[in-house]
């Protein structure tokens, strides 16, 4: 059964309990929870702000890092370009030096070649002439000497060339001359020479006969400063001149060819 006094008392008790718990429990606990919630939210906001600041700093750092990387790349690229330019410059300089050395070496080689060729042709000429001279000396005989003197005498008598006439004129003025031969003149030959010269001059002519080894199978007539000769050496000298000229022309053509090739190699 319901005891109404107890019901009323329990209602009062319950209301008192509500008041007590509201004061001791709910209010305090709710305030503590709200305070904690505020702290958590403030920490959360602080963390969010810190995170935003960190993100901003991160972005700035990344941007700076990117900038540093770009600058480094630019520096590296510039350094590469400098190195490449320097390498090309050095390569060009080395190439020039090599070309210079090659040109000098080529020139030196060419000079050596020319010197050698010059020496060779000189020696060749000398050898050829020596051989010819030796051969002619060995072949010289009375008949040959006669022929030589005969040819010389006839030349004086005909006076066809200007040189012969100048010598005769000089003899006529001085009345003396020197006859040199490469071989010993016999009396007969001396007389024939005197006779021929006497025909051209009225006065007596003082003739001095000399033997000279320089004249190879030859004879020369010298009167004062005028000179008339028939000499194998002259022939040999002219022969040597012709040979040297021929070799010189050949060497010149080869030199031109070599210089053309060197120019074509040097050009890029």
């Amino acid at each position: 059964m319901v005891d109404w006094f107890t019901v009323v008392a329990q209602i009062v008790n319950f209301l008192i309990l509500i008041a007590l718990l509201r004061y001791f429990l709910y209010g305090r606990i709710m305030r503590a929870m709200a305070a904690r919630q505020e702290i958590v939210e403030s920490h959360w906001d602080e963390a969010k702000r810190a995170r935003q600041a960190a993100e901003i700093e991160l972005a700035a750092a990344q941007e700076k890092n990117q900038q540093i990387n770009d600058e480094r790349e630019a520096d590296l690229e510039a350094a590469r370009n400098d190195v490449e330019a320097q390498r090309q410059q050095l390569t060009a300089r080395v190439r020039e030096e090599i070309d210079d050395l090659r040109a000098r070496w080529s020139k030196s080689l060419q000079e050596e070649q020319e010197s050698f060729l010059r020496d060779l042709r000189t020696r060749t000429c000398q050898q050829v002439c020596a051989m010819a001279e030796k051969a002619l000396s060995q072949l010289a005989s009375a008949s040959l000497e006669d022929q030589i003197i005969e040819h010389f005498v006839s030349r004086i008598r005909r006076l066809e060339d200007q040189q012969a006439r100048a010598v005769v004129d000089s003899i006529r003025v001085r009345n003396r001359c020197v006859v040199r031969t490469g071989f010993a003149l016999t009396d007969t030959l001396q007389r024939r020479i005197k006779s021929a010269l006497g025909e051209k001059s009225a006065a007596d002519i003082e003739i001095q006969f000399e033997q000279s080894s320089d004249l190879v199978c030859g004879v020369s007539l010298q009167a004062d400063s005028q000179y008339l000769a028939w000499n194998l050496r002259d022939y040999l000298t002219s022969l040597e001149q012709e040979i040297l000229q021929a070799i010189e022309e050949q060497v010149s053509s080869k030199r031109l060819a070599v210089s053309d090739v060197a120019t074509s190699r040097t050009d890029p």
Partner: protein, 242 residues
């Protein structure tokens, strides 16, 4: 089985005229003192820091859970309802849990106590409803959907309050009575099992009583909200039906 086992109302300690101090009132005071003492001790040194006492942690979990339950049921801010609903739950659950203590007579096993709590709910429902909707707005609920439904709505209001009181009383009284009877018939083992079952039943009954009270209050306070929703008002979720 003594007289207090039949009803704690009948075990009178002191009487003066119509005023009688029985076990129901006395043990209610014990519960009030215990709850107040625990609350006071636990909330003496509250801290907002993460490091807190176990009692504070326990009470924060308890209050937080009650807050969430009220918010889920009412779809409103729980601050207004927490003292009433929370005290209902704490009082009932404390009485029911202490019933296993030898010598303690649960006040909730008294029909007077459950009636008193039901009367409190009976008064609280229109009180919260009028506070929220106003007298006219709340009174209009009784003539919904038509004026003819007025007596049925009044009868429904009274009958559900009566059911609230009798449900709690019946469960707690039966638990106490079965425990006493079993103690007389089979004094070993079975009373322990029945007490354990009584703990579970007491916990569930406390939860049911508090939740039903909240549902009644929510239905009274959210009718206006539901009406506004139909008219295109705010978009809050309609209350669960009672």
């Amino acid at each position: 089985m003594n007289i207090a086992d039949l009803s704690p109302d009948d075990a009178v300690i002191w009487r003066w005229g119509v005023i009688s101090l029985n076990y129901t009132i006395a043990y209610t005071w014990v519960v009030i003192v215990a709850l107040s003492l625990i609350s006071w001790l636990a909330t003496r040194r509250l801290t907002s820091a993460p490091d807190m006492s176990r009692w504070q942690n326990f009470l924060e979990v308890l209050v937080g859970t009650m807050n969430n339950q009220i918010r889920e049921v009412s779809q409103q801010s729980p601050a207004r309802y927490l003292p009433f609903i929370g005290t209902l739950f704490l009082f009932i659950v404390t009485c029911n849990l202490l019933s296993v203590v030898p010598g303690f007579h649960a006040p909730t096993a008294s029909l007077s106590t459950t009636t008193a709590l039901a009367v409190c709910v009976l008064v609280a429902v229109p009180a919260f409803g009028i506070a929220k909707l106003g007298v006219r707005g709340y009174s209009r609920l009784y003539i919904q959907p038509t004026l003819l439904m007025l007596p049925f709505n009044v009868i429904g209001e009274i009958s559900r309050t009566l059911a609230l009181a009798v449900r709690l009383f019946g469960n707690m009284m039966s638990g106490a009575k079965i425990g006493a009877i079993l103690l007389a018939i089979a004094p070993f083992v079975f009373p322990i099992l029945m007490n354990a079952l009584g703990l579970l039943t007491g916990l569930i009954q406390a939860y049911i009583f508090a939740i039903l009270a909240m549902v009644y209050i929510a239905s009274a306070t959210q009718a206006h909200q539901h009406h506004l929703d139909k008219a295109g008002g705010s978009g809050e979720v309609p209350p669960p039906s009672s």
